[in-house]
């Protein structure tokens, strides 16, 4: 670590300035730096709120403990959904968009005032909704606020404020890229990571517009201006927002995966075309997946559901399966080129397992794909959804995607943002080394506990399932697995927040001296540019191990998917 680097104006006499990062050689716009810090801080604050709620509601559903009363359980469940699914992740993504549209392009932030406006609106909306849920008993309506359940008008207003703020920030992303292109800050195509973030940003635009279509009428309805609001129509628009919002997370997370892989193992994408096509598949087909939530709703035809939920033929799933190959394959090639050539998996054994960026990437990919992806495609199948709708299998699925996948990756990425953008030394490095394993491991138990409970019919969003009197004894076991997993995951979350706070609140600001946190003095990011075509194409360096891994994945996928059809075939006849 060295003294702070000097800043340079972008143009002679201009107020806007930048610094050059000594580690990555990239130019960092000072507006961007401040915007990233502000968004990251709000992300961590909302994570803390939602995480506290997570602990308390998990300890309530763990039947042996059953901590909260019903009122507080439902209230904190509402809070948990909003803070985690929306606030924490979107704040982090906004930081990512500022980063991707300026720093990675060596460009300036072209619309800082607009970006601050967006940030302020998001902050006001995000904090307001917490207040409304905590202090207004009527507003315990869950994250989904299904009409005709009616919350306080301020509840809807804070959703709208947050969403418009996010939309404004997304617009600054496009402005930045357009200006960077015009000012010739970069040559040729966008870097792959920015391309992925661009996919997320485009998805975000229509996600937020559909959110407006759902929430604005609900706001008017709560004020009494609109008399009737059809619950079926609300569901349609709400999920046009609710599910794509998670797909924004998916695209942003995959972009971060590529970034983490390059920063920790020095990858070069094995084929830019392949990876970019996979992102384009998301762009065109993933929004159709919103229909997942309406599979057992009245009023919709089989054809509509089947076309939509299959993403017009599972083409978005294909996109994810392409990334699932291309990222580990790129790591394998880069590792083999370094000489880790022994056997099928020598490259994996010699990976930097102590480096949080790599372990976070690994845990995130495994949990997202093997648990989240497989269960998601399965319960999103039209007929199979009848077995799963609104049971704990649903939160089991999305805790694997959003918590085990997105959140683990974002947490790991934060450890690099602190020295490179906050310009603070990362404290508690030995904690950071373990944190992805603790958090990811806990999340695996949470997901598996929820999924196995849901398979036995346990409903989600239910304070006490024993009222139903149909709960087999094994449910006590599976709910306990969920509860213990939650304790471990929350421990991982506390480790994360402690590391972040200890780093940013103590010690002087200074320039980072190296990229890796525990893995040594190397700089994989810069070394990745030295990988030659000959090395990439050398027969000895081909990703044979990855091919074995993805085929193993496919076998597991098929087993889980087909056994669900078998389960469905055993239930009552229904049409």
């Amino acid at each position: 670590m060295t003294a702070l680097a000097p800043t340079t104006p972008w143009k002679a006499g201009a107020k806007d300035d930048y610094r050059v990062c000594g580690v990555t050689t990239l130019k960092v716009d000072m507006h961007t730096e401040r915007l990233i810090i502000a968004n990251a801080v709000m992300a961590v604050v909302t994570l803390l709120l939602g995480g506290t709620a997570a602990l308390l509601i998990a300890l309530t559903r763990w039947q042996a403990i059953h901590l909260l009363d019903a009122t507080w359980f439902y209230r904190l469940l509402t809070l948990h959904g909003i803070d985690m699914l929306v606030a924490w992740i979107v704040f982090f993504e906004m930081a990512g968009l500022h980063f991707g549209s300026t720093v990675l392009l060596n460009a300036r932030h072209a619309a800082p005032k607009l970006a601050w406006l967006g940030f302020i609106m998001m902050t006001v909306g995000g904090l307001l909704v917490n207040g409304v849920v905590l202090f207004d008993p009527q507003s315990t309506v869950m994250f989904t606020a299904y009409v005709p359940l009616k919350a306080h008008p301020l509840f809807y207003l804070s959703y709208i404020l947050f969403a418009v703020g996010a939309l404004i920030t997304v617009i600054t992303f496009f402005i930045n890229i357009a200006v960077a292109k015009r000012e010739k800050r970069f040559e040729g195509s966008l870097p792959l990571v920015v391309f992925g973030l661009m996919t997320a940003a485009i998805l975000a635009v229509y996600t937020l517009l559909q959110g407006a279509a759902a929430i604005v009428p609900a706001f008017l309805w709560s004020l009494g201006i609109l008399q009737n609001y059809d619950p079926g129509i609300y569901r349609n628009f709400f999920w046009g927002f609710g599910h794509p919002a998670q797909q924004v997370n998916l695209a942003a997370m995959v972009a971060i995966w590529y970034a983490l892989a390059q920063m920790t193992t020095g990858i070069r994408p094995i084929n830019e075309k392949f990876s970019r096509l996979a992102f384009i598949l998301y762009l065109f087909f993933i929004n159709l997946g919103s229909a997942h939530h309406l599979l057992v709703d009245p009023g919709l035809s089989f054809a509509w559901k089947a076309v939509n939920t299959s993403y017009a033929m599972y083409l978005a799933v294909l996109g994810s399966m392409m990334h699932a190959f291309s990222i580990p394959a790129a790591i394998e090639v880069a590792q083999r080129a370094k000489g880790h050539n022994k056997g099928l998996f020598g490259w994996l054994r010699n990976a930097p397992w102590g480096e949080p960026g790599f372990s976070g990437l690994f845990m995130s990919m495994i949990i997202f794909g093997w648990i989240g992806g497989v269960t998601g495609v399965t319960i999103g199948t039209e007929q199979i959804n009848m077995l799963a709708h609104n049971t704990l299998r649903l939160p089991g699925h999305f805790h694997a995607t959003v918590v085990g996948g997105t959140t683990t990756a974002f947490m790991a990425f934060t450890y690099y943002v602190i020295p490179l953008i906050f310009r603070k030394e990362l404290k508690l490095k030995s904690w950071a080394k373990w944190q992805p394993y603790v958090f990811g491991g806990g999340t695996i138990l949470v997901s598996l506990g929820m999924i196995t409970s849901g398979l036995q019919g346990v409903a989600r969003r239910n304070w006490d399932i024993t009222f139903a009197g149909v709960v087999p004894g094994t449910v006590d076991l599976t709910l306990a697995i969920f509860g213990i997993g939650a304790l471990i995951a929350v421990t991982g979350g506390i480790m994360y927040i402690t590391i972040v706070l200890a780093s940013i609140l103590t010690g002087p600001r200074m320039e980072a001296g190296q990229l890796l946190l525990v893995g040594g003095k190397e700089n994989p990011l810069l070394e990745s540019t030295k990988l030659t075509d000959e090395q990439m194409e050398h027969p000895k360096n081909q990703p044979k191990g990855t091919l074995v891994l993805v085929f193993a994945f496919l076998v597991w996928f098929a087993v889980y998917y087909l056994s669900n059809w078998w389960l469905l075939g055993r239930t009552w006849f229904i049409r």
Partner: protein, 172 residues
Amino acid sequence: MLAPEKLWWKPLGRMEKTWLTVAFVWCVFLTVMMPLWYFYGKQNVPTETYRVTREQFAAKVNEFVTQYQVGDENGIPVVAPPPGSDVYLRASTWQWYPILQLEKGQTYRLHISSMDLQHGFSLQPVNINLQVIPGYDYVATIVPTSAGEFTIVCNEFCNLGHHTMVGKVIVK
């Protein structure tokens, strides 16, 4: 993270092609399974739906209960409709009304609707789950294939008493 080389549009390698083909074939299989099951499977998501007002549906439920009531359990009527008939089930906070008594292996047209909020029809331990929305009469043609007592759990949040909303189906 860094800008790619100028020309990155290159043909795919052998392994990428292999995986892409296999993954695509799997996606086609996933897609085909749904229409296949639609035509040959015995368990399909009901699609028959009618618009209905709360009053209309409540009247139908009452008429149905008067016609076929055979008993009473804690104030809730037990209703035994003949096989093949239209069966009505009313969801409201926090009650399923009435208790249904069906025969194993017979077909029924089960109408479900809500009087107030959205509810979730979750038949346990059979584990069939459907969304119940006010204003929509959702018709499921069902054949109970097992006998015994079954519970209807509400699995859509419907305010603070949600977890107490439990109903019953008896199959003889």
